[in-house]
Amino acid sequence: MFDFNFLMLTPEIAVAVLTLVLLAIGLLIPQGARKGMMPLTVFFLLGVLAFSVYDFFFGPQGVTLGGMYIHDQFAGFFKILFLSAAILVALSSGAYVQSFPTSRGDFYALLMGATLGMMLMSGAGDLLTLYVGLELMTITFYILVAYWLTEEKSAEAGVKYLILGAASSAVLLYGISLFYGMTGSLMLTDIRQAMFATPISPVTILASVFLLAGFGFKISLVPFHMWAADIYEGAPTPVTAFLAVASKAAAFAALIRVYVLTVGVQTFSPPSIGGHWTGQNLLLVLAALTMIVGNLIAIPQTNIKRMLAFSSVAQAGYLMVGIIPASPDGVKGVLFYAMIYVFGNMGAFAVATHIGQAQGSDEIKDFAGLARRSPVAAAVMTASLLSLAGIPPLAGFVGKFYLFSAVMSEGFTAIAYIGFVMSMVSVYYYLSVVKVMYLTEGEGLPLVPVKGASKFTMVFTMLITLALGLYPTPLAQMAIAAANSLVK
């Protein structure tokens, strides 16, 4: 009766093995001879990625470990997302990591650990697994954020992230414990059953609010977003990138699963599936707040990473919009957007990494004349930012279209107004970066040509962003399949 289907866990196991191998290498091989770790990681991950893509389309779907672990296309989609994000980060971080004072090798091991945690989150079938995955991801991130030992900002960011993160997961846990108390189980399916029976009461509300707060912290949903900017600014840029795209996506994966399967029932979900208007409206308000606050605070920022941090807060708002209707269309929108968000953001962060590493500064003004000093970087930055802003023909536009058409088809129009208008406002601060890069000649600043892996990363992300904008069908089909595997 106790099934243990290794086949379904192949990617996870592979990544776990890689993690340990990297750790071992880090211990055995002397400092000098660790150049090879980046390529090793990348190629290994490419293999895993290839497998999970195959797995997504043709692999077996099902539930294992007595329902604690779900292996459906929804999880598969997110695994692809995490792996590609990890690969891009690894690729773009080469030079940056080399500039770390110590223990450069372990960086990749930790990266893999975080990836593993995310994959667990996306597949978790009960709250305990979910929590374990979450902590695995988060704790490794604590270390990664503070990884740049000599950089004081880095340490401060680490401490902040640790304390706030731990507190938030305590809240999450408390919520979980309440659910356990109410239903006597941690299985999402069992909880769902039980919650249908239970009438709404302060406890159910408190439990789901705590859960929301826990996930909200991870996806930097206003008003649980305060940490984001500081951590993003302090952390080493590649880590920031990974934090911004992957950990957020992972939290969304978990949130969607929990929200659509369980919490949704009788609290935050649409009345159509037994939810309540208050919950819906609360979510709408939070989403709106997130879009507005994120975009507004981003305007006066002078540090590229901080600006991207707030922009990613706003992006969380857009994604949130897709969750609200809890419909296949909405989930599809979220999945699609999350994926293109990876490429859009990775492009921007790759450039930021490059500049930060080459000029030792993250200030926007130091991007002056980038169009002359490194045309590729400037072009990629522009494309990525415009994709984030949702300007056609870049992928962001299609993504937003999916999200907002999904929520509008449920009859929420106001949120669509806010969303579209705010995304046009966001163009303002994105364009001011573009302005800095193109308007001035950037006298006195060095030429910073990009080359090798990071150049590949940039161009690749740009091409994907453009391609998905012009012809979104393939990804859209995948997203639909994934969404349908979750929402019946």
Partner: protein
């Protein structure tokens, strides 16, 4: 080869087309070579003249004394055809247009030949002839238009040419301003005309003159529109606003005197003989509209015309600039033609139009030759004794004066007499009186001009000399026409036979009336003689007697000043106010929004204090708030009891 002259009619389109061709040629090809440009242009206009004469003959031939048996509007081509709007362009040949074609081509060719001498050595020579050709083309096109829109188009084009030619010496500020003024003033008139055209089309679905008049003849029920005026009356008046602007009727007359900034031949052609009478021609063309409209329309025309006639004449008395005097006299004569139409005599008006074209062109060209001889001096008091120095100019000018003063047998006598007779016989005694008085004034100021400029002692600083033959030849030709031009009105072959509206309404020569007007004219001349030649009465003493009136006339009743005030204080003031509004209100709101956004952004940014305990506080506070809102929203008031969540658990 043509069997009948009126087989030519289908070639009428060539008349405007030839000058247009020469315009293109000059503009694109012969720009560089002066001689060629002039040759092309004059050749074109002369052949147009030939064609016009031939067609005129054809018209006379195809006239059996009762009706016109020629082909009228030659088949028209579709020009514009869209849903709800269809316009055909065509050419119309009938006595009216034939007469105009002849007059226009004649004066135009005279002027172009004259210009050979007058414009000699001007650096804008080719440009000048290009404009001249373009003008001739547009004016002739206007004349043979078959419908209102076509006419309007050429109407605007002659306006453009007038603009270009007034501003021909564009580097002169005065010329530049005059050109601008002319265009804008006539534009005001066009506004009315355009409205008329639009509404007429929307009512009748056509703009073709013949079709329109049919539509009105056949069971069209006129109806009251606004202010007790019937529909057709309003239309008539709207359309008439165009002529008010173009033919310099009060109050849109202000541009014509300034238009004298242009080269004098231009003034002769455009601002005396042809373009300014386009208004009169237009009214004649759609005379049927006025006839169907209530009498109010024609009364309006008559009244305005008469007023303009006397108004301009009084101003002319007090002017010193030779060209301005002629300009005001032109205004006055245009008023004559208008009220001739107003009192219902199309014939008389057209007749006067023709004769006036002859003698006014003559006098302008004469003035031109004088100015040419005196090196751009225009004040008549700087002249004097020119008659001996410039005999041809002097004699021809004298003929012109006699003609305009209505001294028999010169051309002006016949036409003016016919107008006055029509006024009286059609029951407009007041208008008749005004006309008569105007005739007296006209005779007075014209002979004043003549005596002061041509007789008396010659000024020592002037060394005038007779102009070259290119300039005197046109003078002579026009002079002859001013003498004999009126004889067509002699009963045996009467002008009205050719040009008339509806039934034949020709005034039989009324020798009594003729006598009166002749006397009026002679008195005028005599008065001028006594004052300016005999010096029996000192002009100064008269001025001293009525200083107010003199100043009023000298300053043209301050109409220009009024308009300037209107433009500079009202229009520009409004413009500035609106601009302010645009900057600080319409745009201000936008910028305000942007400022607000940035401001709130800066404020929100301050919430990121960097204190992790603040962050934690916000976090938990938010949790509590959301919880309470949710619970209360769901009516779970028990939530307010802190222990309730425990009680909720099984």
């Amino acid at each position: 080869m043509f069997k009948e002259m009126h087989d030519l009619f289908q070639w009428a389109w060539l008349i405007p087309f030839l000058p247009f061709l020469s315009f293109l040629l000059i503009a694109l090809v012969t720009r560089r070579s002066k001689g060629l440009s002039a040759a092309v242009s004059i050749l074109a206009i002369l052949s147009a003249l030939g064609l016009a004469i031939a067609i005129g003959v054809g018209v006379i031939q195809s006239w059996n004394g009762e009706e016109f048996v020629g082909r009228e509007a030659v088949a028209a081509a579709n020009w514009l055809n869209i849903g709800g709007l269809k316009i055909d362009f065509g050419t119309i040949v009938d006595p009216l247009s034939a007469m105009m074609l002849f007059v226009v081509t004649l004066v135009a060719s005279m002027v172009q030949i004259y210009s050979l001498g007058y414009m000699h050595g001007d650096r804008g020579w080719s440009r000048y002839y290009a404009y001249q050709s373009l003008f001739a083309a547009s004016m002739l096109g206007l004349v043979i238009s078959t419908n209102l829109l076509q006419l309007f188009i050429f109407w605007e084009l002659v306006g453009l040419c007038s603009y270009l030619l007034i501003g021909f010496w564009y580097f002169k500020v005065s010329a530049r301003e005059a050109a601008k003024k002319a265009f804008i003033t006539t534009r005001v008139g066009d506004f009315g005309l355009l409205l008329g055209i639009l509404f007429l089309y929307n009512k009748f679905g056509t703009l073709d003159f013949a079709a329109l008049s049919n539509a009105m003849n056949t069971n069209f029920q006129d109806f009251a529109l606004i202010g007790g005026l019937s529909y057709l009356t309003v239309m008539a008046i709207l359309v008439f606003i165009g002529p008010i602007g173009k033919s310099g009727q009060f109050p849109l007359h202000v541009w014509l005197p300034d238009a004298m900034e242009g080269p004098t031949p231009v003034s002769a052609l455009i601002h005396a003989a042809t373009m300014v009478v386009a208004g009169v021609y237009l009214v004649a063309r759609i005379y049927f509209l006025f006839e169907h409209a209530s009498p109010a329309a024609l009364q309006f025309v008559a009244g305005l015309g008469a007023f303009t006639a006397i108004f301009a004449a009084t101003i002319a008395i007090a002017q010193d600039d030779i060209k301005r005097i002629l300009a005001y006299s032109t205004l006055s004569q245009l008023g004559y033609m208008m009220f001739a139409l107003g009192v219902g005599s199309l014939t008389a008006s057209m007749f006067h139009l023709m004769t006036h074209a002859f003698f006014k062109a003559l006098m302008f060209l004469g003035a031109g030759s004088v100015i040419h001889a005196l090196h751009e001096k225009q004040n008549i008091w700087d002249m004097g004794g020119l008659w001996k120095k410039m005999p041809i100019t002097g004699w021809t000018f004298f003929i012109g004066v006699l003609a305009i003063s209505g001294v028999p047998p010169f051309a002006g006598f016949w036409s003016k007499d016919e107008i006055l007779a029509a006024a009286l016989h059609n029951g407009h005694p007041v208008i008749y009186a005004v006309g008569l008085f105007t005739a007296f004034l006209t005779a007075f100021y014209m002979s004043r001009l003549f005596f002061v400029a041509f007789t008396g002692p010659s000024k020592p600083e002037n060394h005038p000399h007779e102009s070259p033959w290119t300039m005197t030849l046109p003078l002579i030709i026009l002079g002859v026409l001013s003498v004999v031009g009126g004889l067509v009105a002699l009963p045996e072959h009467n002008f009205a036979f050719y040009v008339h509206a509806g039934e034949l309404e020709h005034e039989a020569m009324d020798w009594a009336l003729a006598g009166i007007s002749v006397v009026a004219g002679l008195i005028g001349i005599g008065l001028a003689y006594t004052i300016y030649v005999r010096k029996a009465i000192a002009a100064e003493s008269i001025v001293a007697k009525f200083p107010g009136i003199y100043r009023l006339l000298k300053n043209k009743y301050y109409v220009d000043e009024f308009y300037l005030w209107l433009i500079h204080h009202i229009m520009d003031g409004l413009a500035k106010v609106l601009y302010w509004i645009d900057l600080y209100i319409v745009d201000g709101i936008i910028n305000g929004l942007a400022l607000f956004t940035r401001g709130s952004a800066r404020t929100l940014r301050r919430t990121q204090t960097g204190q992790l305990q603040t962050y934690a506080l916000v976090f938990f506070f938010a949790v509590v708030v959301i919880y309470l809102v949710f619970a209360i929203g769901e009516g779970q008031l028990a939530a307010l009891n802190p222990l309730a969540m425990l009680g909720g658990v099984k």
